[in-house]
C-alpha cells in the first residue's frame, strides 16, 4: 500500500464517528487500471444519515466495501484513510477487522441472500452472530435473537425463529438482515441499496423502521443508493458520486433544491416527477465514460453544457459554507465569502 506521503498517526481524533479521507480503491486488470474510488472524503456523525448517491459504475458501492474491508482482488485500497474511533481501518489486521465487523460496524446488502445462509434456520444464524461477539448462553442468545426480530417489526418472532430464509418474503428477509446488522448496536451501518428490489409499500415500511432505529440508537448510517427520492426523505446529508469521485456534497435539502454541480442538476432533472407530465424529460447527453478511459480533469466535462477549456485541469472539491462541489462553473454563482451557513 502506498502511503502517498500522508502522515500516518496511530491515533487520530475526530468529532465524526467515521471519517473517510482521500480514499482510493483501484482495480488493476490486463487492459489497465480502473480507479473505481479516486480520492473520496467524507464524514458521518452519530445519529445522522448520509445518502451516497450515484449511478452504476460511479464507485458508490466500492466505497462502502472499502470502508468495511470487503474489497476483493483485483481491487485494492491504494491510498487514503478510513478513520473509525481513532483507528485507520485500512491498516488494522484481519483479526481486528473481524472483531469490529458485525459488532461496531455493520453492512446491509441489496440482496438479503448475500447475508443469509439458505440452508440454516434463522435462529441458528442470529445466535451465531450474537455469540461471535458476546459471551452469553444459548438461551440468552435465543431471547436476544427473538427481541431483535420483534424490534424490526417481524410478527410472531418466537415462531419465525424456526423458519428458513426461503420461508420469508423479500421484505421480511431484508428485515431479518437489518435485525442482524443491529444486533450489537453498531456505531455505524453501511446500507447498499437495501430497498431497491422491494415494492413501494414494503420499501416505505422498512424505511420507516430504519429511520426510527437510527434515531433511537444514535447510529450513524451511510445509505448507498441511486434513488434521489429515497435520499430526499431519509438522509440528512448527501454526497453525489460520478466516475469514482464525489462531485457534490452537503445538506440534502440544499443540494436537491439548489444543486451546484451540473451533473447533480442533470440527475435531478432526469427524474420524471421533476418534469411536466407528457413532456420530454431533461436528459444528460451522452453516456458515462468508460472507467478505463476517463477524460482528463473533470470526468463529466464531455457531457456538460457548461464545460470549457479550463475543465481539462483537475478540479478540487471546493468548500462553500457547509457544502462542497467539484466544478469550475457551478450553477449558482456563490460569493464564496458570503455563503450563508
Amino acid at each position: 500500500m502506498s502511503a502517498s506521503g500522508a502522515v500516518m498517526a496511530p491515533v487520530v481524533k475526530s468529532s465524526a464517528i467515521l471519517e473517510v479521507r482521500d480514499l482510493r480503491t483501484h482495480f488493476v486488470g490486463e487492459t489497465g487500471s480502473v480507479k473505481a474510488v479516486d480520492g473520496v472524503s467524507f464524514s458521518v456523525k452519530r445519529g445522522r444519515v448520509l445518502g451516497l448517491v450515484g449511478e452504476s459504475g460511479s464507485g458508490k458501492s466500492v466505497t462502502g466495501f472499502s470502508i468495511i474491508g470487503l474489497v476483493d482482488p483485483p481491487g485494492r485500497i491504494v491510498g487514503g484513510q478510513v478513520i473509525f474511533d481513532g483507528r485507520d481501518l485500512t491498516r488494522v489486521t484481519r483479526e481486528e477487522m473481524r472483531g469490529l465487523r458485525g459488532r461496531r460496524i455493520a453492512m446491509i446488502f441489496q440482496d438479503p441472500m448475500m447475508t443469509l445462509n439458505p440452508v440454516l434456520r434463522i435462529d441458528t444464524q442470529l445466535i451465531e452472530a450474537i455469540r461471535a461477539h458476546a459471551d452469553v448462553s444459548q438461551a440468552q442468545a435465543r431471547a436476544w435473537a427473538r427481541d431483535a426480530l420483534g424490534m424490526v417489526g417481524i410478527p410472531s418472532p418466537e415462531e419465525r425463529l424456526h423458519a428458513y430464509p426461503h420461508q420469508f418474503s423479500g421484505g421480511m428477509r431484508q428485515r431479518v438482515v437489518i435485525a442482524i446488522a443491529l444486533l450489537h448496536k453498531p456505531d455505524f451501518i453501511i446500507a447498499d441499496e437495501p430497498t431497491t428490489a422491494l415494492d413501494v409499500t414494503i420499501q416505505a415500511q422498512i424505511l420507516a423502521e430504519v429511520q426510527k432505529l437510527v434515531a433511537e440508537s444514535d447510529t450513524a448510517l451511510i445509505w448507498i443508493t441511486h434513488d434521489l427520492a429515497v435520499v430526499s426523505r431519509l438522509a440528512d446529508d448527501i454526497a453525489v458520486m460520478y466516475a469514482g469521485r464525489i462531485v457534490e456534497a452537503g445538506p440534502v435539502a440544499e443540494v436537491l433544491d439548489r444543486p451546484l454541480h451540473p451533473y447533480t442538476a442533470g440527475l435531478i432533472g432526469s427524474v420524471p416527477s421533476r418534469n411536466r407530465r407528457g413532456e420530454r424529460l431533461q436528459q444528460i447527453p451522452g453516456m458515462m465514460p468508460s472507467m478505463l478511459h476517463l477524460p482528463k480533469g473533470c470526468a463529466f466535462r464531455t457531457r456538460c453544457a457548461r464545460a470549457d477549456a479550463a475543465c481539462a485541469a483537475d478540479v478540487p472539491l471546493l468548500p462553500v459554507g457547509d457544502r462542497e462541489y467539484r466544478c469550475f462553473h457551478p450553477l449558482i454563482e456563490v460569493p464564496v465569502t458570503e455563503m450563508p451557513a
Partner: protein, 341 residues
C-alpha cells in the same frame, strides 16, 4: 396526441374481456383419484389474473401499475398474445384472436410487440445486434430493398449508431441494450407496444433518455402503449390513463391526472401516498400495514381487506366489482356504495 374519440364506433385496439389465467399443475389420474378419496389435498392453483376487463384505445398510453406478484406481467403477456388466457377472450380491433383464421391471427400478433425489463436476458448473446434486429422482419418478409439499409434505419430510429450492428449484446451498455430491444420490436412495424418494466433496470439518466425515445416514437409512428411498471413516477409521466392492479384484479382505472389527484380505492391511495418524490418535505414514512398476501390463498371478498383501514363486514365476503364512479373513472370498492346509500 389524444386517443381517438367515439370509442363506440372504433373498437379498442386491444380489448381484454374477463380474462383469467391460472398457473398450477394439472393433477393426473392417480392424483385426481387421491383427491376424490380425500387422501390428498387439491393441487393449489395460482390465480395470477382474475377476470380482468381492460381496453386500450388506439393512440393512448395506458399505465398498468402494481406490486410484484399482482399479475401485471401476466396480463401484459396475455395482451401480447404470448400467453393464452385460461378463461375470457382477447379482442384485437374488435375481433376475437382465438377465432381468427391462422394467417390473420399471425398478422394481428405481429402488430403487437413487447419490450422486456432485462434487455440482456431478452437478447440472444450469440447473435450480433444487427441479426437480432433484422431476424423477425426477414422471416416475415417485411424488408423491401437492401436488408443492410433497412437494419441501419432501424438502428438510427432507436438512437443507435448503425456502425455498431456487428457487435454482440455484451459489448453494449444497459441503455444501448434496451435500445436494441426497442429497435427489434419496432422493426416489424407494430401498432401496439407492451413495455414490461422496460426502464426499471436503468439508471435515472439513462431512464430519462429511453422514456424520451418512447415519447418521440409514439408521436412519429402513431404507437399505442401498454406501459407496465411499478414506478409511479414513470407511469405518471408517460401515461394518459392508469390502471392499478392488486392480487390479480384491477382495483382502479382512471385518467392519469384524475387518479393522482383523486384516487378512490384505499389501495391506490396508500400506494400513491408512499410514492417517493424528490420534492417531498415530509420526513416520515407511514407505511401500509402488512404484506401482499400469497396469490395461492388470496383473502376472500376484497383482496385488500386485511390491509385496508376502512374494511367492514361486506368486504370480507363479497368481492367488489369495478364500477364507474365518475366519467372514465372506475373503482372496485364497497365504500362507494355505502357513500350513496
Amino acid at each position: 396526441m389524444m386517443p381517438e374519440a367515439g370509442t363506440s364506433e372504433v373498437p379498442p385496439l386491444i380489448d381484454l374481456k374477463s380474462v383469467s389465467r391460472q398457473f398450477g399443475r394439472h393433477p393426473d389420474f392417480a392424483a385426481r383419484m387421491a383427491i376424490a378419496l380425500k387422501l390428498a389435498t387439491p393441487v393449489p392453483m395460482l390465480r395470477a389474473v382474475d377476470q380482468v376487463d381492460l381496453a386500450v384505445r388506439k393512440g393512448e398510453v395506458l399505465g398498468l401499475v402494481g406490486e410484484s406478484g399482482c399479475g401485471k406481467s401476466t396480463l401484459g403477456r396475455i395482451a401480447a398474445g404470448i400467453l393464452p388466457p385460461s378463461q375470457g377472450s382477447v379482442l384485437w380491433r374488435g375481433q376475437d384472436l382465438a377465432q381468427l383464421p391462422r394467417a390473420a391471427r399471425r398478422e394481428a400478433r405481429l402488430r403487437v410487440q413487447m419490450i422486456f425489463q432485462n434487455p440482456y436476458a431478452s437478447l440472444n448473446p450469440r447473435r450480433s445486434a444487427g441479426d437480432i434486429v433484422g431476424e423477425a422482419p426477414r422471416i416475415h418478409k417485411l424488408i423491401a430493398g437492401d436488408p443492410a439499409a433497412f437494419i441501419d434505419e432501424q438502428f438510427r430510429r432507436a438512437g443507435l449508431d448503425p456502425a455498431l450492428k456487428r457487435r454482440y449484446p455484451h459489448q453494449f451498455s444497459g441503455g444501448q441494450r434496451q435500445r436494441i430491444g426497442i429497435a427489434r420490436a419496432l422493426a416489424v412495424r407494430p401498432d401496439f407496444i407492451i413495455c414490461d418494466e422496460a426502464v426499471a433496470a436503468l439508471d435515472v439518466s439513462v431512464q430519462a433518455q429511453i422514456l424520451n425515445l418512447f415519447m418521440d416514437l409514439r408521436a412519429s409512428l402513431n404507437l399505442t402503449y401498454l406501459f407496465i411498471s411499478h414506478d409511479l413516477g414513470v407511469v405518471q409521466h408517460i401515461s394518459d390513463r392508469v390502471a392499478i392492479m392488486y392480487l390479480g384484479r384491477i382495483v382502479e382505472e382512471a385518467p392519469t391526472d384524475e387518479i393522482f389527484a383523486r384516487a378512490n380505492h384505499p389501495y391506490s391511495q396508500a400506494l400513491l401516498a408512499e410514492m417517493p418524490r424528490i420534492e417531498t418535505t415530509k420526513r416520515h414514512f407511514t407505511a401500509v400495514k402488512g404484506e401482499v398476501p400469497s396469490p395461492l390463498a388470496p383473502p376472500a371478498g376484497c383482496h385488500f381487506h386485511p390491509r385496508c383501514p376502512h374494511a367492514f363486514a361486506r368486504c370480507r365476503v363479497e368481492a367488489p366489482p369495478l364500477k364507474t364512479i365518475a366519467a372514465g373513472h372506475k373503482s372496485a370498492c364497497h365504500l362507494n356504495d355505502t357513500a350513496v346509500v
